[in-house]
C-alpha cells in the first residue's frame, strides 16, 4: 500500500509538474519521527519521505540505508553523518554547529523493506534508467493494485525499452490476479508473465482467480505447463551444475592426496590438515591485508594461493624428511605416523589460532551470481571449478611432461632401483610429498571460501578425499578427476529425491557396490605388473 502511494504520487508529481512545490512541513514531521528511533515511526516517516518529492528525501533515505542517519540531542534531532564523521543537517547538508552525541537510527528488516520501497518509488522517476529498472521490479514484486494507475502513467512516458518491458511486466503481475479485469487484458497479462518462464512467473500464473473465465484459465494452464516443462529441464541442468561444483570441491580436496597417496602410496591421514593449513594461510594473508593494505583485499586469494602452496609444501617437505622417509615400503605404518601428525597439527592450530572459526572473506569477484536462462550460477562456485581444473591440468603436466615428474613416478615405483639410476631419491621424495601437500594447501585457499576455517576443517574432507581417489582408481590422476565429478553429480542428482542424509548413504552404498564391479576403481590400472 505504501509503495502504491509512493508510486502514485511520484508519477503524479512527474506528470503534473508539481516538482517545485516542496512539502517542507511533511518532511519536517518525518525527520521528527525518525528521531524517535522506533521502527514504526521510521517506517511511517519513510512513506512520508517517499511521497514528499523533496530533493533531500533521496539523500535521507540512502543515509538511513547506509547507517549514516544518526540522531541525538534534546529534543532528539536527526543528522546525516558525512565523510569524516561530521554531522550535517539532513535538509541543507550544512555542517551543524553544536553537534550532540549521536547514535545511528536503527533499522530492521521491515524498515529495510520500507527503505527499498521508498527509494524505489523515489527513483521511478529517476533520470538513471538503471534505477528506474530496479524501481519497476520493486513495484512488480509488491503486486499492489493501487499502483496500477500510476504504473500506466509512467509506462506511457517510458522510452528505455528495458525499463519499459519491466514496467509492462510489473503491470501484468498486478493485473493477472486482480478481480474485475477484462478477459482480454488478463490473457495479455498471462502472456507477458508467461514469457518470463521462471519460478516467479509460475507463482503469478497460479494466482489467477478461481472465478476467471475458462479461456483465461486455459491460457494460464497452458502457460503453467509450458513453464513447468521448461523449469524441469533447467532444474536438471541446475542439479548437474551443482554436482559439478560439488565435484570440483571433491577434486580439490582429493587431488593432493592423489599424489601423496595415489602416487607415493603414503596413507596420508594428515592430508586434511594440509588443506586446513592452506585455509589458515588465506586467513593470515587476509588479516595482514586488512591491517596493512585494505585496498589489496580483492587480491587476497591470488596472493594466498602461491603462499599457501609454498607454506604447506614446506611443511610437507619437513614431514617427509623427518618422518615419512623412514617408512617407505611400510605403507601401513604411514597411517599410524600421519594420524599422529594430523593430531599434532590440529592441536597446534587450535593452540595458535584458537578453536573457533576464523573469518575468511570473499573478494568481490567471487561474490554474487549471474543467470544463464533459468540456470543460476554463483561466481564463487564458478571460480572454484575453474581453479580445480587448472590445478588438475597443471599437475598432470608436471607429472607427464617434466623430468621431475618422471623421476617422481620412477622413485615411487621402485625406490632402490631409481637410486641406482642416479636419481636423488631423497630429494625427489621430499619434492613429491611437498608437491602433494602444497596442492592440498592451494585447495585450502579455495575451500576457505565455502567452509569453516577451523582446526577441524581437514577432518571433514579426509574421508571424501580417500573415497574419491580410490573410486577413481589409485595412481590415476584422470580417475581422480572423473571420480570426483561423478560422485559430485551423483550426489546432487540423488539429493532431491532422497534428501541430503539418505542421499549420502545411498551414494556410499553405490560406491561400495561399484567397487565390487571394478575392484580397482573407475580407471583401473591394468596389466601384468598390477595383477602379480
Amino acid at each position: 500500500m505504501l509503495l502504491a502511494l509512493a508510486v502514485l504520487s511520484a508519477a503524479a508529481l512527474s506528470a503534473a509538474a508539481l516538482a517545485g512545490r516542496a512539502e517542507a512541513q511533511d518532511v519536517g514531521g518525518a525527520l521528527a519521527q525518525l528521531a524517535t528511533n522506533k521502527y514504526d515511526d521510521t517506517e511511517a516517516a519513510l512513506s512520508v519521505l517517499a511521497l514528499s518529492g523533496d530533493p533531500a528525501a533521496v539523500g535521507i533515505v540512502s543515509a538511513l540505508a547506509e547507517g549514516r542517519l544518526v540522531f541525538g540531542g534534546t529534543p532528539p534531532r536527526v543528522f546525516i553523518q558525512g565523510e569524516g564523521g561530521a554531522l550535517l543537517d539532513p535538509l541543507t547538508r550544512q555542517p551543524v554547529a553544536d553537534a550532540p552525541a549521536v547514535k545511528p537510527v536503527r533499522v530492521n528488516n521491515r524498515v529495510r523493506r520500507a527503505i527499498e520501497a521508498a527509494s524505489g518509488a523515489l527513483s521511478l522517476v529517476s533520470p538513471d534508467p538503471a534505477k528506474r529498472l530496479e524501481a519497476a521490479q520493486a513495484v512488480g514484486r509488491s503486486r499492489d493494485v493501487a499502483a496500477l494507475p500510476a504504473l500506466d502513467a509512467v509506462l506511457a512516458k517510458e522510452t528505455d525499452p528495458k525499463v519499459k518491458s519491466a514496467l509492462a511486466l510489473a503491470r501484468a503481475s498486478i493485473v493477472i490476479g486482480q478481480a474485475g479485469v477484462s478477459e482480454a487484458d488478463r490473457i495479455a497479462a498471462i502472456e507477458v508473465v508467461g514469457a518470463q518462464g521462471n519460478q516467479d512467473a509460475l507463482a503469478l500464473l497460479r494466482s489467477v482467480p478461481a472465478d476467471a473465465s475458462p479461456a483465461v484459465k486455459d491460457a494460464a494452464a497452458a502457460a503453467i505447463a509450458g513453464i513447468e516443462r521448461n523449469l524441469a529441464l533447467w532444474g536438471a541442468a541446475q542439479n548437474v551444475w551443482y554436482g559439478l561444483s560439488l565435484g570440483s570441491v571433491l577434486l580439490l580436496a582429493a587431488i593432493g592426496l592423489a599424489i601423496t597417496f595415489g602416487v607415493m602410496g603414503v596413507i596420508n591421514m594428515a592430508h586434511g590438515e594440509m588443506v586446513m593449513l592452506g585455509a589458515y594461510t588465506t586467513f593470515v594473508v587476509q588479516e595482514l591485508i586488512r591491517t596493512h593494505n585494505p585496498g589489496l583485499f580483492d587480491w587476497s586469494l591470488i596472493i594466498a594461493i602461491p603462499l599457501a602452496f609454498l607454506f604447506t609444501g614446506l611443511i610437507g617437505v619437513i614431514i617427509e624428511r623427518t618422518v615419512i622417509r623412514f617408512l617407505y615400503g611400510r605403507a601401513l605404518e604411514t597411517l599410524l605416523a600421519t594420524w599422529g601428525i594430523s593430531l599434532i597439527l590440529q592441536q597446534a592450530i587450535r593452540t595458535l589460532f584458537g578453536p573457533t572459526n576464523r573469518e575468511v572473506g570473499a573478494p568481490s569477484w567471487m561474490s554474487g551470481s549471474f543467470e544463464i536462462g533459468q540456470l543460476s550460477i554463483t561466481y564463487g562456485r564458478l571460480w572454484i571449478i575453474v581453479f580445480a581444473l587448472l590445478v588438475f591440468v597443471a599437475l598432470l603436466a608436471v607429472l607427464r611432461l617434466t623430468r621431475i615428474g618422471l623421476e617422481m613416478r620412477a622413485v615411487t615405483q621402485n625406490r632402490r632401483m631409481a637410486a641406482s639410476m642416479g636419481i636423488r631419491t631423497n630429494w625427489v621424495d621430499a619434492m613429491t610429498f611437498g608437491l602433494g601437500s602444497g596442492i592440498a594447501g592451494m585447495a585450502g585457499v579455495a575451500l576457505s571460501q565455502i567452509d569453516n576455517v577451523s582446526p577441524n576443517l581437514g577432518q571433514s574432507y579426509i574421508i571424501d578425499s580417500f573415497l574419491v581417489v580410490v573410486f577413481g582408481g589409485v595412481g590415476n590422476l584422470w580417475g581422480t578427476l572423473v571420480g570426483a565429478m561423478s560422485l559430485g553429480v551423483a550426489n546432487k542428482l540423488l539429493e532431491p529425491y532422497a534428501g541430503a542424509v539418505l542421499g549420502k548413504i545411498a551414494l556410499l552404498v553405490i560406491v561400495i557396490l561399484f567397487i565390487q564391479k571394478r575392484p580397482r576403481g573407475l580407471f583401473a590400472l591394468k596389466g601384468r605388473s598390477i595383477e602379480a
Partner: protein, 403 residues
C-alpha cells in the same frame, strides 16, 4: 589450605572444541573472580579441567573421574545433548551436581542436573511469534541438522504453527547430516519454496560446523533477509566470528542473551572477560551467560546451605535468583530450569546482533512440551513433597505416563 573443587567437563579437542572451549574459559574466569571475592564458605575454589574430547563415552568416564577421584563439589559441562545423556547416569549414581548451559530439546528434568540454557519454549516459539507478527511470515522452512534437538524443536514448532492456522503445504522440513557442507541444492530449494508469493522465513536448527557453509551459500545465492529471513537457534556471536556477515545483515537469531545487550552488568562483564582472556576483541555469547548464571546460582546456594554437600545444595538451589546480564533476574525453578527473557536479534555487518525484540517479562521453561503427545501431562517439581521430574498430572503419579 583446603579448597573446594569445581569440575569443568567441556571438550577441548575434537569437533565440539569449537564451541565448548569458550565455556571452559568462562568457568575458569568465574572461579578466578569468585576467589578474588574470597572464595566460597571461606575456602578458595579450584577448577579441575578435563578434556572429554568430543567423545561421548569419554564424557561419562571423565565425569566419573571428576566426581569419584577428584571429588569435585559440582561440575559445569556438556554441550551436546548426547554428552549430557551420557553423563546423566553417572551424576545420578554418584549423586553430584551438573550445570548444563546450552539450549536443548527439553523432555528431561533430573534431580542432579540444573539446566541454565533455554528449553524450546524459551527460544523457538517467541522467535516464530516475532516473525509472524513483524514480518508477516506465512510460509515456513524448518531446516535442521538431523538429530534430536532439531527434530524435537521442529516437532514442537510444527504443532505450534498448525495451531496458528498454517497449512501443511506451507511448511517445508529439511534435515541434513552433521557437518553438511554443500548447501547449494537446499538453499536453491528454499529460494524456490519462498517464491510462491507468500512471505517465507527459514527457522534454522542447523548445528555446529554446518552453519558457516550454509550462511556462505545464502550470501552467494543472494538470499537477503528482506526477502527470506532466516532465524537461527544455534548461531551466536562465536559462530558469526567465522563468517563475513555483510551479506547476512538482517537475518535473525533468538537467544536469551546477546553480547550487544545494553546493560551496565553486561558492559562490566565483557570488560572483565576480555581482560581475563587478554583479547579485547573476544566475543561473548548465550551459553557463556548461561554458564555464568549457573555458576552464581551454585555459589549462592552453597552459601545458603552452608555446605557443598549435594543433598543440601540441590534443594537450596531452587528459588535462587541471580542477576542475568540482560538486566533482570533469573530464578532457578522447581523444574531445575531457569527463567529467561527471550531476545530476537538481527545480524549486523560487524558480526554482532541488533536486538529487535525482547520479551517484556521472563519466560518459565516448559521442560515437558505441551505440544508433544507423550509429555503434555508431565510436570517436574523437585521440591518436597513431589520430588519428581516426571509427574503425571492426569494419573497423579511420579514416573511418566505409564499405568
Amino acid at each position: 589450605q583446603e579448597t573446594i573443587k569445581v569440575g569443568v567437563l567441556h571438550s577441548l579437542s575434537g569437533t565440539m572444541a569449537i564451541s565448548e572451549t569458550t565455556l571452559k574459559d568462562t568457568v575458569l574466569f568465574m572461579v578466578q573472580e569468585q576467589n578474588a571475592k574470597g572464595g566460597v564458605l571461606g575456602k578458595k575454589l579450584e577448577a579441575v579441567v578435563v578434556d572429554p574430547a568430543s567423545n561421548w563415552p569419554l564424557f561419562a568416564e571423565k565425569a566419573r573421574e571428576l566426581i569419584e577421584k577428584e571429588k569435585v563439589a559440582v561440575v559445569f559441562g556438556c554441550w551436546t545433548s548426547v554428552s549430557r545423556k551420557s553423563v546423566l547416569p553417572v551424576f545420578k549414581e554418584l549423586n553430584s551436581i551438573l550445570f548444563y548451559p546450552v539450549q536443548y530439546e527439553g523432555e528431561e528434568s533430573e534431580r542432579n542436573v540444573f539446566y541454565t540454557g533455554a528449553a524450546p519454549n524459551q527460544q523457538a516459539i517467541p522467535a516464530v511469534d516475532y516473525l509472524m507478527e513483524n514480518e508477516g511470515v506465512k510460509r515456513w522452512v524448518l531446516a535442521g541438522t538431523d538429530y534430536v534437538y532439531p527434530r524435537t524443536t521442529n516437532k514442537i514448532l510444527e504443532a505450534y504453527l498448525k495451531s496458528k492456522g498454517v497449512a501443511a503445504e506451507d511448511i517445508m522440513i529439511n534435515y541434513t547430516p552433521f557437518g553438511h557442507s554443500d548447501w547449494q541444492t537446499i538453499v536453491a530449494d528454499i529460494k524456490k519454496f519462498g517464491s510462491a508469493g507468500k512471505k517465507t522465513a527459514v527457522v534454522s536448527t542447523i548445528n555446529g560446523d554446518a552453519n558457516v557453509p550454509f550462511y556462505k551459500e545464502l550470501g552467494n545465492q543472494g538470499i537477503k533477509a528482506t526477502d527470506i529471513p532466516v532465524v537461527a537457534f544455534s548461531v551466536g556471536e562465536e559462530e558469526l566470528a567465522g563468517i563475513d556477515t555483510k551479506p547476512l545483515v538482517g537475518h535473525l537469531a533468538a537467544w536469551n542473551y546477546f553480547q550487544s545487550v545494553d546493560t551496565p552488568e553486561n558492559e562490566e562483564f565483557i570488560k572483565k572477560w576480555r581482560g581475563y582472556i587478554k583479547n579485547d576483541k573476544r566475543v561473548t555469547n548465550d551459553p557463556m551467560e548461561a554458564t555464568v548464571i549457573g555458576f552464581e546460582m551454585w555459589v549462592k546456594a552453597v552459601e545458603k546451605a552452608g555446605t557443598t554437600e549435594p543433598d543440601k545444595v540441590i534443594p537450596a538451589l531452587i528459588g535462587v535468583s541471580v542477576p542475568n546480564l540482560s538486566g533482570g533476574f533469573s530464578t532457578m525453578m522447581p523444574n531445575h530450569h531457569i527463567t529467561k527473557p527471550v531476545l530476537i536479534g538481527e545480524i549486523k555487518d560487524d558480526g554482532q546482533f541488533d536486538i529487535v525484540e525482547q520479551t517484556p517479562g521472563l519466560i518459565v521453561a516448559e521442560e515437558w512440551s505441551p505440544y508433544l503427545e507423550g509429555s503434555k501431562d508431565l510436570i517436574a517439581d523437585w521440591r518436597s513433597p513431589l520430588n519428581c521430574g516426571n509427574f503425571n498430572v492426569k494419573t497423579g503419579k511420579c514416573g511418566g505416563a505409564g499405568q
